[in-house]
Amino acid sequence: MRAERAPRWSWALYALLILVSLPFLLPLLWLLLSAFKTSAAIFSSPFDLDPARLSAANFRQVFAEYPFARQYFNSVYIAALVVPLTMGLSALAGYAFARLRFPGRDAVFILTLVAMMVPSELTAVPQFVVFSRLGLTNSHLPVIVTQIFSATGALAVFLMRQHFITLPPELDDAGRVDGLGTLGVFRHIMLPLSRPALATVAIFAVLNSWNDYFNPLIYLSREGLLTLPLALQRFTDPLGGVYWNLTLAGGVLVALPVLLTFLLAQRQFIESLAASGTKG
């Protein structure tokens, strides 16, 4: 029915879609373009497309005059620790909650749901007290640990549990007949079937770790320790005025890996998010 109607109205639909896309697309394009302009040009001619007036000077300056390479490395290595740990721990716990009976299971799972719902910002004060007593402020450990075990980690456990519940119980039995123990069933049967769910977990973990602003804001003050979300706000003159050209170039560098990954994995990305949304 819809397919019959489409040709007659498709031009109107396309026009509507293009119009609707503008607020989503323009800020991004504007960011990409402005990153190649001088501060004055960003203000005076925001839609100037002349390649002769665009230059990579901002990008060079960001790396030459600020510890941006160091801060970039900080964000990358923190994500490189957080993501696999979140995947591993959530797969183990999700499997236990879904398939194994043990005392206290339901109570711990309810706590996981609470941890998923409670904003991690709420627990910031006691967390800060503990980490500062341990002398761990201005270190990356609090940033890493809170990422893995707070809301993101709990969401990961929840998603993995929902996934393992959908797998048929015959799979476990078949593995046991072949002489596998619980760990063997998990490693050789369950994990290989969990790639889409683990991919969803990885996506959330990457996004949340890469974007984490609150915890670095609390724990990190030394320039060389900062991660990218905070570093982006440090391109300022001595009076606190913002060097917008450098901020926007930095913004492009922060967004680029995420946007490129998204473009490459767009279909699986959207489908896995959609699937986890409808099954919830």
Partner: protein
């Protein structure tokens, strides 16, 4: 009890082995969560009963912080800001997401491109997104200049108390709505087209079809999106803090921003914890309400 397993009862031994494995599998995450979330939550409640700058010893003050909250106009104001902010995001995000999902469900060539465009701000780093808009909304920036050229006078959307909150709401919805749109889209695609056709043949209007067929069938998704967006809006910190820092004149100081300022700027950790406890109770109540309302509000096909 485990050591008392009698030989010759393999079923029992297997249950015990399973329990042991379950504990071992769940323990690494559960212990971490206990240390990072559960104990700190109890800590928040404990600290909220003290006066504490972190430098001196905490001083027990009982419910004093809560009495102070109830009489603190800045706190009451931030509660109001949070309510307006959350309601604004909820209504705008969900209605726009549903409209977008309906539009993106059209069977057109190249529709995937539009789906990608509308989703792309979701993966954009929050701070980069907020900084772009902060720049565009500078007093002499692109948006305000464009508005005054259209005859809106000296518009200054982000730095005027009356408009700042709604400006942040709109920026946040543009950033986040793609996620809900994609989730609604997948729900819409799960609605069998025969049902729509049958209703049309019976003479139902497009609105009646949406209201009486589509909406009930996507209600589980609707409910999930509602709760997730609600709680997400309640805890939104980064875009607000980067865009306005809570200003102008505290017009965008939400409860989380208020808590952050009390704790980490004024070192009133007891008072900040009282704010956090209030917010925790709200989130918990919403979560419990979700579980108890879920069956009554949601239509399941089976």
């Amino acid at each position: 009890m485990m050591g008392a397993a009698r030989p010759g009862r393999p079923a029992l031994r297997r249950a015990q082995r399973e329990a042991l494995m379950g504990v071992l599998f769940a323990a690494p995450f559960a212990l971490g969560m206990l240390l990072v979330v559960v104990l700190p939550l109890l800590g928040v409640i404990g600290i909220s009963l003290t006066q504490w700058s972190l430098l001196d010893a905490p001083r027990w003050v009982g419910l004093h912080n809560y009495a102070r909250l109830a009489a603190d106009p800045a706190f009451l104001r931030s509660a109001g800001v949070t309510a307006a902010f959350t309601a604004g995001i909820l209504v705008l995000n969900i209605s726009v997401a549903l409209a977008l999902a309906t539009l993106l469900n059209a069977k057109l060539r190249g529709i995937g491109v539009f789906r990608t465009i509308i989703f792309s701000p979701v993966v954009m780093p929050v701070v980069a997104w907020a900084l772009v808009w902060k720049f565009l909304l500078q007093p002499d920036g692109t948006v305000n200049a464009g508005l005054s050229r259209l005859g809106a006078g000296d518009a200054n959307l982000l730095f005027t108390p009356g408009t700042a909150l709604w400006t942040v709401v709109v920026i946040e919805v543009i950033k986040a709505v793609g996620l809900n749109a994609v989730i609604f889209l997948s729900a819409l695609q799960g609605v069998p087209p025969e049902l729509h056709e049958a209703a049309r043949l019976d003479g139902a209007s497009p609105w009646q079809v949406f209201r009486h067929i589509t909406l009930p069938l996507i209600s589980p998704t609707f409910f999930l999106v509602f709760i997730v967006t609600l709680i997400g809006a309640l805890k939104l910190f980064t875009p607000v803090y980067v865009l306005t820092g809570g200003g102008p004149a505290d017009a965008t100081t939400t409860l989380i921003v208020y808590m952050f300022k009390q704790g980490f700027q004024f070192f009133e950790f007891g008072y900040a914890s009282a704010v956090a406890t209030v917010l925790f109770v709200i989130v918990l109540a919403l979560t419990v309400a979700q579980w108890s309302l879920r069956r009554r509000l949601v239509f399941y096909e089976s």
